[in-house]
Assembly symmetry: C3
Homo-oligomer: 277 residues x 3
């Protein structure tokens, strides 16, 4: 796509979400679950969160996309997540995967391995998580060391470009890597976006809620456009919210307000760099 | 009751809550659980949340009322909720039911069906949830179509009046329906209340936290007065909070502040329309 | 330690946390889990929350300290908590225990009893919880009546001094009691600290998030210094945040901002009274 085509698609996606109030249900961690919902509502979507297997299947049927975040796994997820991703695949519904906590625990490992064949439309993570997932799915010519520490990254976004491209080429979807400069790729084209705020890493759930917002956009656009729209609105709202914020909590309030205020024209006009892979 | 009697009772209920700091424990969803607690604290109550069966029973014994919200069911609820509502009934303690997500999943269906005989003192929901519950409990002469979508309503409050009245007549308690114009009925009298804010549907947990606040008032008043007091304080605080809010998050902060600031005289003097059924 | 030595240690602890961004993982309740994480991030730490047994063990290995809060127990905690505290002890890692809800339910009772031999480095609670835990562990010469009501205290901090000292002498660590005047003791020396805000008891999670922040400081200091640093930064930030707050929600935003803004010199210079036991 040309940059102009991408910008037109961004505008269409954001406009459609604000017009239609589409629902993207989530199976997500309990730490940031409220922020995920509030961010989804702020950009014009509707939220619903579930834990039980048949409710995951029900939400796969009810919505146009879903968000699956691997933080704070509960025992029931051993059944819920396989049944939900199967229902999504069977129904041809796209979903966003956030591999939070990759490397911690046997259940997360087993589930993330199994997701390889279910090809999430968008994978969103920090640099270390994206490298770790590409390693786990054996998509790199040479395994790369990933510096996951708890839920934080110790790798740079550039370090994760090869992994992001490999993941996107495998899924046929898109990958978004969050960092000081964000990266979004569909395996053919890669966009780099600047913005955000020094305060974003100081609130819990910046990344998780971006995953949820991306799922909202995914109800009305392609994986690449959804991932790019989400990343842009976060960079735009983050930069605006930082002005006048006295600390991370006043930043968070302003940030959600700015997510709500950002319109389709502003998001489509936001600067990004594009390169071919 | 005459309007004057209702207003005197509203004033007494709000005054008693602020004086006594009564506890109403909750079994509620993980999305909005913090907001429920903070709203309960803001109006003068005390909050405690539990998941396990014997803890539900313990809270039924310890408090003067409880709040049960059906969002984000966990597997243990299959045991916790029946034991808790039985303990509440055996102890003669009133409780508030919020049938969030009605229509989704087998466990929620089974639990909601079983609650018919446990007669919650207050049922709170949006129009679609109230219609769906009256259908489920077979209280309508003719089944009515309910437009539940995830956790959102697609029906109007007037559409739900027949269902609300039927539910209240069955339980002998009260029903509160949230919408652009709110409705509270005890099956004999129905009040309509205006207010709130365009931002309330844009934050997650507006309805859930109203349920929790209603349970606090229920510790010190009848179901009808508790439901009316909760609805009024939400309409009053919502309208005040919207002024000067830049978006949904600054609205939410201001809204909790206004819940805290609203006093008994203001709540008792708030406008509502009353009609006999 | 002399007061001057304590102040130097406070300064070192706060400085090290801001420099190193240390992680303290938590197993904590779902009501205040987001606030715990955001408070930990605000003071310079890193947060990660888990529920599953092998993830608790993994976090015991990955971090320098942990936070265990007994609110909203889930069934899986019956396995997770014993395995996690064993892993912490085997690895010689310190942890903070917050005995929220003590007295409610069989699982909480069993777990809290078993923790006696695992000697948490810091125990943090309100007066009633501290008395109840000292009773449960049979550390008092004469059992003392504890007024736990749900999650609230009905005892004064002075009432809890004997229990706090007894607990600290048993564990060899420190105990922090939250109240109008806070108390921190290592069983040999006891500090009393004033400050905070009338709004702190009106937001849910003031105590829980203090426990999480204490665990962050515990990664870089002794139990007594960690407990004192946490208590001081809460008293300092609370007093500052109250100025200009319109209610509990605007207070909470300002409070997290002030946690972020408080520097090592201010925390070290904060007033406290010291006495020998």
């Amino acid at each position: 796509m040309t940059k102009t085509e991408i910008q037109a698609s961004l505008r269409d996606a954001v406009t459609a979400v604000k017009a239609d109030n589409p629902m993207a249900a989530s199976i997500t961690n309990t730490v940031t679950i409220e922020l995920v919902a509030n961010a989804q509502l702020a950009v014009g979507g509707s939220a619903a969160m579930v834990y039980l297997p048949d409710e995951g299947e029900g939400m796969a049927a009810a919505g146009d996309a879903m968000y699956i975040n691997m933080g704070t796994l509960l025992p029931v997820y051993e059944e819920t997540l396989p049944r939900t991703v199967k229902a999504l695949r069977d129904a041809g519904k796209p979903w966003v995967l956030d591999p939070v906590g990759i490397g911690l625990g046997a259940l997360r490992l087993k589930l993330l391995q199994s997701f390889k064949d279910y090809k999430p439309a968008v994978i969103r993570g920090n640099a270390s998580e994206i490298i770790a997932l590409a390693n786990l799915w054996e998509l790199l010519e040479e395994p790369q060391t990933a510096g996951v520490r708890g839920v934080d990254a110790t790798d740079s976004v550039d370090d994760a470009q090869e992994a992001a491209v490999a993941l996107a080429q495998w899924t046929g979807g898109a990958v978004a890597v969050s960092g000081p400069i964000d990266l979004v790729t569909d395996g053919q084209q890669t966009a780099r976006i600047r913005g955000g705020s020094k305060f974003l890493p100081l609130i819990t759930g910046g990344g998780c809620s971006l995953g949820g917002v991306t799922a909202i956009y995914l109800t009305r656009s392609t994986p690449f456009i959804a991932a790019l729209a989400g990343t842009i609105v976060y960079d735009l709202a983050g930069a605006r919210a930082e002005k006048g914020a006295a600390g991370p909590a006043s930043f968070q309030t302003r940030f959600i307000d700015e997510l709500y205020r950002a319109n389709a024209a502003e998001i489509a006009a936001y600067s990004f760099q594009l390169e071919d892979e």
